[in-house]
């Protein structure tokens, strides 16, 4: 009986330790910016997912293309129908890891800049992406910010000649997530 109780206790302890390894959010903010002298375009998605395994430094970010909101309805329509083809490719996903990962100490507040690399898949194309990310720990939460550029041509996104001066060839993508322990 005693063994059983100890076993039972250890089992739950194990579950607790395991569950505290992953940090996540379902309300990550991903935004992108196309900046040309003729037109500034930005889109925002505030329901992106991010999961970070603090034991290994592996992370995954996913977003729904149709969840991006624009100032103008027409921009949103073109983004979905002409460029991202969101009916065919509804998700954009990044799978990667923090390079040279040394375990984050969640118990101490602080800030650190890390290198993140991995595969970004959108519009049916997968490309390697590397970026710096700012990671700060604040009272048991992990706040992560990153920004990087992607070339539209890399993802097979074609811009018609008519609007080529209105849309930047290189987009700036920003990611901002506040991760909490997965319970």
């Amino acid at each position: 009986m005693r063994k059983f109780i100890i076993g039972f206790f250890l089992f739950f302890l194990g579950v607790q330790v395991m569950s505290a390894q992953k940090y996540f959010t379902k309300t990550g903010h991903i935004s992108f910016y196309s900046d040309t002298p003729l037109e500034k375009i930005e889109g925002h998605n505030k329901s992106s997912n991010c999961v970070l395994d603090v034991a290994t430094g592996k992370l995954e970010v996913a977003t729904l293309v149709k969840g991006f909101q624009f100032e103008k309805a027409l921009m949103q329509e073109h983004f979905n129908e002409n460029y991202m083809e969101s009916d065919k490719f509804p998700k954009a996903v990044f799978k990667g890891q923090i390079d040279n990962y040394s375990k984050l100490d969640i118990s101490k507040n602080g800030k650190v800049t890390v290198k993140v690399s991995g595969d970004l898949t959108m519009h049916g194309v997968t490309k390697k992406v590397t970026t710096d990310a700012m990671v700060s720990i604040n009272n048991g939460k992990i706040i992560a910010d990153a920004s990087f550029n992607v070339l539209l041509a890399d993802f097979n996104i074609k811009i018609p000649a008519l609007v080529k001066d209105q849309i930047a060839k290189s987009l700036k993508i920003k990611v901002a997530c506040t991760l909490e322990p997965l319970k």
Binding site: K46, S47, S48, N49, G67, A73, L74, A176
Partner: protein, 132 residues
């Protein structure tokens, strides 16, 4: 001759106005619009768990009306966001609002009816441009 110039000028102005209207047309709102599908959060989740591709074909970009209990009120920048309980701890229905004011006064546990455009499922099913 002068008459033709006037006619062309008027046509050009009308054309310009129509063009401007088209470029700046406003977003389709969900408020005051009849939803195409009325579902419970659990039904919507079940449809997505059964066959995501089929659920996407049926619901993506459509206005859904979902009635459920508020499980969480999410902090988002420049906007509002609430999650509705589906009975599954890992997956809820997240509803995004364009302004924070829209979700003012909503408390966890409240029963609300939300209309929004379905944008698909990650961990949660996400509705955007929501209204109550």
């Amino acid at each position: 001759m002068k008459k033709y110039i006037y006619i062309i000028l008027v046509l050009a102005i009308i054309g310009g106005l129509i063009g401007y209207k088209m470029v700046n047309k406003s977003h389709v709102e969900t408020k005051g619009v009849t939803a195409e599908f009325v579902l419970k959060p659990a039904e919507l989740l079940a449809a997505y768990e059964l066959d995501e591709a089929a659920a996407d074909t049926k619901y993506l970009d459509k206005i859904l009306e979902v009635k459920g209990n508020v499980k969480a009120i999410n902090e988002v920048e420049n906007g509002g966001s609430i999650s509705l309980d589906t009975g599954n701890d890992m997956a809820s229905v997240t509803c995004e609002f364009e302004s924070k004011d829209a979700v003012n006064g909503i408390k966890i546990g409240d029963e609300v009816t939300v209309k929004g455009f379905c944008s698909g499922k990650l961990m949660d099913i996400v509705l955007v441009r929501c209204s109550l």
